[in-house]
């Protein structure tokens, strides 16, 4: 029981929910199909049997009301963890998040606050129809009062979800669905909580900084290994983990050291998270920069259907080319 266990991300998220619900009666989950069905990805499997209908609430089909109801629960003092079945349907609740979740603490000068984690599977790579494959993090990240967290592995998912649930502010927790079953990782059974707002240097290097998060991280690590093997260059890979607050210090330190930066994400390019990374790099490491900061992203087109998804998602090849060109600049 005290040994770490190899878990998938689905199991790791489930573990975090189980343990936090055991630990704190005020934590509860709600959403579509999260109870009897255990969630369409089985992330909430077993919670209903263990915690009952008052804490594992199958709701009617209405995202606005799910999040709105959760906000009311948080005003009361509970710690709801609503699930949006797919991030593509989160805009149905966006007004509740922007109008209220993000503002309630400021609006009432601290009298109330919204301790809520909105969980949602996001991202591509699972051969799904539109609205089931897109990446929406940038829409949320622009909103003061919210925190945006994106884990990249079972262990980080578990450790960050625990922190998100305990965080007194609203956290939008994007779960890269391509990773739900893709990798297994040792996850300690004992409590583990990682700080929100800290990036992680996933691989050290001195020649170029490659910044990513979620499922892209793995493609970037792959590229770093390949560049090491084939070109002898050392790519430092930064896993953001928290999109907002963004860990400017870690980014800046790495950028100042390497002078060359590439940022990669699945979302379309323009007005995305990559732009913010570029801006912060320019603001904090301008004098050390030896090449323009490159963005490797999906193209600015509507999701083209999964038959065309492989080219739409930025794969290792595209990252590799950007890295090589930036190294050669």
């Amino acid at each position: 029981m005290t040994e770490p266990r190899k878990l998938t991300m689905v199991q790791a998220v489930n573990l975090a929910l189980m343990q936090e619900m055991e630990r704190d009666d005020d934590v509860l989950v709600l959403g579509e199909d999260i109870g009897v069905d255990g969630g369409v990805f089985r992330v909430t499997d077993g919670l209903l049997a263990k915690f009952g209908e008052q804490r594992v609430i199958d709701t009617p089909l209405a995202e606005g009301a799910i999040v709105g109801m959760a906000i009311g629960m948080a005003i009361y003092g509970l710690k709801p963890v609503p699930e949006i079945q797919f991030s593509g349907f989160s805009f149905q609740a966006f007004h509740q998040i922007e109008n209220h979740a993000a503002r309630y603490r400021a609006r009432t000068r601290g009298r109330y606050h919204i301790q809520m984690v909105v969980r949602m599977p996001y991202g591509g790579g699972v051969r799904a129809l539109e609205h089931h494959s897109e990446s929406e993090e940038a829409y949320y990240a622009h909103t003061p009062g919210l925190k945006i967290v994106i884990p990249s592995s079972p262990r980080s998912a578990r450790a960050l979800l625990v922190s998100a649930i305990r965080d007194p502010d609203t956290v939008i927790f994007f779960e890269p669905k391509a990773l739900y079953h893709a990798v297994k990782e040792d996850v300690p059974v004992a409590e583990e909580a990682w700080p929100i707002g800290k990036a992680r240097v996933a691989r050290e290097g001195k020649d170029l900084t490659l910044i990513a998060y979620g499922a892209m991280l793995h493609r970037c690590l792959e590229v770093a290994e390949r560049v090491h093997a084939e070109d002898g260059a050392e790519v430092e890979v930064v896993d953001l983990l928290s999109i907002s607050p963004m860990d400017t210090e870690t980014i800046a330190a790495s950028a100042r050291k390497t002078g060359r930066v590439v940022v990669a994400h699945e979302a379309q390019r323009s007005f995305g998270v990559g732009a913010e990374v570029v801006a912060r790099v320019v603001e904090t490491a301008f004098l050390q920069l030896e090449a323009p900061v490159r963005r490797v992203t999906a193209f600015d087109i509507v999701y083209p259907g999964f038959a065309r998804e492989r080219g739409w998602l930025p794969g290792p090849d595209r990252v590799l080319r950007a890295v090589r060109e930036t190294l050669a600049f």
Binding site: P60, A62, G68
Partner: protein
């Protein structure tokens, strides 16, 4: 039976004190005189405060706000049915309820002068702040109601909204949730016949708003919203039912927005003075006063004293509010998060450097 008629619940209209002040004694609730006196005082306070706010706005001392004249009976009749441990979720015409529940008046003035701190709900008061995005507060009430029940409390939640709000998805989704979860919740609709320039008739093709409850499987009732007693009785019954675990109720209070939508509004563009006049004749204040007079609760001397007392109360609230109008933008960096983020700390420094450079103590 190839064509079968299915049962549908019925909808009632309730009135107790009519426009002439005649009381249906079979329905008259037994309200202690002390409470009637306090209700009357709050009514008058709300009325005078509303008038003073209009003047403050015209003088540029506060910003745009929505007067509440005409809504007092509906709000007070309903809030009177609540306990202090019950939750109240307003939109923006429920000042009388705030007053009833013990808010300092200066908070409202401060808020409408552009100071967020006016909406710091007083400690211990189970009210939510005003809500500007129409209908968006209604799902919160479902959450509060279910949370209270989950924590084993027997408290009830009441949420207010307008006729306009009843068209919004947020309202309709919330009612459906409340029905499904049998939430201890009262939906109190202030149907004041207008949503800015849109008449009730164009807001929905349904004959009443009360009948919308049928869509969600719980009781709906229409009351005379200018009749404080009817509003009280309908709410009391709904609150009792909710407290007993019998689920939500929708109450539609028929009233009228006697004043402007907000101080930025010009109703002559869209509504007939004659209609306003007709509703002025039905307005709740004289009716409630007549009821109290008949009960021997009010007398002329007492009223003059009360007016003077209220005038002083409002005057000192304005003074307190204006004394609190000390804005520094630096405060805006608090309460964005429980702890300021790295980025916010940096931006706060930026602002402080800027202030230092310009020699300004603070930004207005």
């Amino acid at each position: 039976m190839p064509r079968t008629r299915l049962d549908v619940p019925s909808i009632e209209h309730l009135s107790i004190v009519d426009e002439e002040g005649r009381v249906d004694e079979s329905l008259e609730p037994p309200i202690p005189h002390e409470d009637l006196r306090r209700l009357y005082r709050t009514f008058l306070l709300a009325r005078r405060f509303d008038e003073r706010m209009l003047r403050l706005q015209r003088q540029g001392r506060i910003g745009t706000f929505g007067p509440i004249r005409g809504h007092e009976a509906a709000v007070l009749g309903s809030i009177y049915a609540l306990r202090a441990t019950d939750w109240m979720v307003p939109y923006y015409r429920e000042w009388p309820a705030y007053m009833w529940r013990g808010w300092p008046l200066d908070n409202l003035i401060l808020y409408y002068a552009g100071y967020a701190e006016g909406m710091r709900v007083p400690d211990g008061v189970r009210d939510l702040p005003l809500c500007i995005p129409i209908a968006s507060q209604i799902p919160h009430a479902v959450g509060l109601a279910c949370a209270s029940r989950y924590k084993g409390e027997d408290s009830v939640t009441m949420v207010y909204f307008g006729d306009g709000a009843s068209s919004h998805g947020d309202c309709q989704e919330a009612m459906n949730f409340a029905g499904v979860f049998q939430a201890p919740l009262v939906f109190f609709c202030l149907n004041n016949q207008w949503a800015i320039s849109l008449t009730r008739a164009k807001q929905t093709h349904a004959r009443t708003l009360a009948q919308k409850a049928i869509a969600y499987g719980f009781p709906g009732i229409q009351v005379d919203g200018n009749d404080l007693l009817a509003c009280y009785v309908a709410t009391r019954d709904a609150v009792d039912r909710a407290r007993r675990g019998e689920g939500p109720t929708l109450i539609e209070a028929l009233t009228y927005r006697l004043s402007l939508h907000t101080t930025a509004d010009d109703p002559t563009k869209y509504r007939d003075e004659a209609e306003v006049k007709a509703w002025e004749a039905r307005e709740p204040f004289p009716r409630f006063r007549r009821y109290l007079e008949a009960k021997g609760i009010l007398d002329a001397a007492g009223e003059a004293a009360l007016e003077a007392e209220i005038d002083t109360e409002i005057r000192s609230a304005v003074e307190r509010a204006e004394a609190r109008m000390q804005a520094t933008l630096v405060d805006g960096f608090e309460h964005v998060y429980a702890e300021p983020t790295q980025e916010l700390r940096a931006q706060r420094e930026e602002l402080l450097r800027e202030l230092a450079a310009t020699g300004e103590a603070a930004h207005g």
